[in-house]
Amino acid sequence: MTKQRRPHILVTGAAGALAQKVINQLRDHCDLVAVDFREQVYLGDDIPSYCIDFNKRVFEDLFRRYQFDGVIHLGRIQSSQLTRMRRYNANVLGTQKLLDLSHKYGIKRIVVLSTFHVYGAVAYNPALIDESAPLKSAGLSADLVDSVELENLANIYLWRYPELNISILRPCNIVGPGVRNTISTLLASERAPVLAGFSPMMQFIHIDDMADAIVLAYRKPTRGVFNVAPQDWVAYQHALKLCGCKRIPIPSVPPLVPRLILRTLKLRSFPSYLIAFFKYPVVIDGRAFAKEFEFQPKRPLKEIFRFYRDNKRPV
């Protein structure tokens, strides 16, 4: 009697904390292969891990060797990393290569991690933005173009090749232990810049909840684009207060002033291209995802902020 074949899954962006959480949840039931563009990580003897540029020919060898059933694409290079050109190559051309190979090798399920940044922060944003809203970010900041392009690309493949079963997830701010994105760095810092007079509504999701969401999404092959956010909201400055951060106000009017200050200071923790996200709210509606995948975040905001408050000075 032959043993039933365990699903083979390719996980990209393996060096990130989120990918490692996803891998830990899936490793008992699936055969995983981890890939990262940036560095090779050790994930145990049972999980082969590679540091490969998706645009190199050797990347295709992985598809030949491991005969994947699914791909979980978490390897989007964030806007704070690499130069604009290299990021474009990695995020857009790399993703295209990944999707092409997935089509060629008959992959049956793909989950792509995007971000709520693609909606763009403008003063006229309504709250509870749903998935059908236009992606305005590309027109607002050249540094977010690659994220929007990545999404559009995934969208084209979603409709052109229905057999790939692509789901695109647009999460709100992912925070929690190990996360190294801009917002998490700000919440973890002693002093955080704010724009004087602006405290937009924000949504936060714990990294463990996000990992749950990705695994849930992978297991149910529903195609489509989904926002992922809990039904809870807080103003940015209030969140900083709860995390025990001292707020450093930056003059906010006229709009040229904060931009000039941030460009001059080149603050990595408060990049000038994200300035609009600290001024105007981008509140997304995660109800469609919650309903479709029966997803319920388990970690409340207070618990998330308590972690940041208690870990200001790590031992």
């Binding site: 724009l195 007079g197 209030h238």
Partner: protein, 271 residues
């Protein structure tokens, strides 16, 4: 006792605190809703408005019980007086009513979110960017929404045009029909006299990026305000041509006009 809680205890009496807490709003674990409404900040707003409502403008409200106790509802009124004082007073009238109070949401100009501090403050006390998507989502959430279909045409009008209704947009009627929300008309009398403007400096408004720059006294005069709420008006959600929608809007406009006349006839003196 911390300074914040001391100030709170002085400004917000216990019964007011309980009154607001009794009005259940769909809010998250930290007291916010997606549009930025905050259950704690509204208590300060409520305490301050109480003084303005009762002492400064000495508002007389009739028919506020006409607003249904639950479910989506649109409160449609005439806009006036350069600042959105009318919206605040209408909101307070509903939030403070004895039987089944509700905290309504007001739709505000697109200009406000760009103003530091003020934009956030308005959101915290329940005002929301006047976008059809926001209005639709709120009606779907069973909220009571205050809309002034005249928009800046109404609030920016000059003193010699007082109590003259400007053109109404049709957007509110489409939303009312789609979400089966009754429309409660309200005639506001008195706000026109709070900030009488004699002219509008358009080039200055353009330079500052604001909707209008009125020539007026830099004070808000203590005019006596009369609010007259009409009976709820129900409209079916049949697919009808835009012309008929406009006719329905005209019906609401006529009712508001009648309520304004009622307020004007009740009024004994301006202040």
């Amino acid at each position: 006792m911390s300074l914040a809680s001391f100030i709170k205890s002085r400004l917000i009496p216990a019964d007011l605190d309980q009154h607001i807490n009794r009005i259940r709003k769909p809010i998250g674990s930290l007291g916010y809703d997606p549009w930025g409404y905050n259950n704690e900040v509204i208590k300060y707003g409520f305490a301050l408005t109480k003084q303005l409502y009762e002492k400064y403008f000495r508002v007389e409200a009739h028919g506020v019980e006409n607003i249904p106790a639950e479910g989506p509802v649109l409160i449609i009124g005439n806009h006036s007086g350069q600042l959105p004082i009318d919206g605040i007073l209408v909101g307070y009238a509903l939030a403070s009513r004895k039987e089944k109070p509700r905290i309504p949401r007001a739709m505000i100009e697109r200009f406000f979110p760009t103003v530091p501090w003020l934009g956030n403050l308005l959101n915290e006390v329940g005002a929301v960017l006047g976008d059809p998507v926001n209005c639709a989502k709120m009606l779907a959430n069973d909220e009571a929404v205050i809309v002034f279909p005249e928009g800046i045409r109404g609030s920016g009008k000059l003193y010699h045009d007082r109590y003259e209704l400007k053109r109404f947009g049709n957007g509110f009627m489409h939303l009312a029909m789609k979400y089966k929300a009754p429309i409660v008309p309200v005639g506001v009398v008195g706000c026109e006299e709070t900030i009488p403007a004699i002219a509008n400096i358009k080039p200055l408004a353009k330079a500052l990026g604001i909707p209008y720059a009125p020539v007026a006294l830099p004070v808000v005069l203590p005019a006596k305000v009369h609010l007259n709420f009409g009976a709820p008006m129900y409209f079916d959600d049949l697919e009808i041509p835009e012309e008929q929608v406009t006719d329905r809007v005209e019906t609401v406009k006529a009712e508001i006009s009648r309520l304004i006349d009622k307020g004007l006839s009740e009024r004994k003196r301006l202040f």
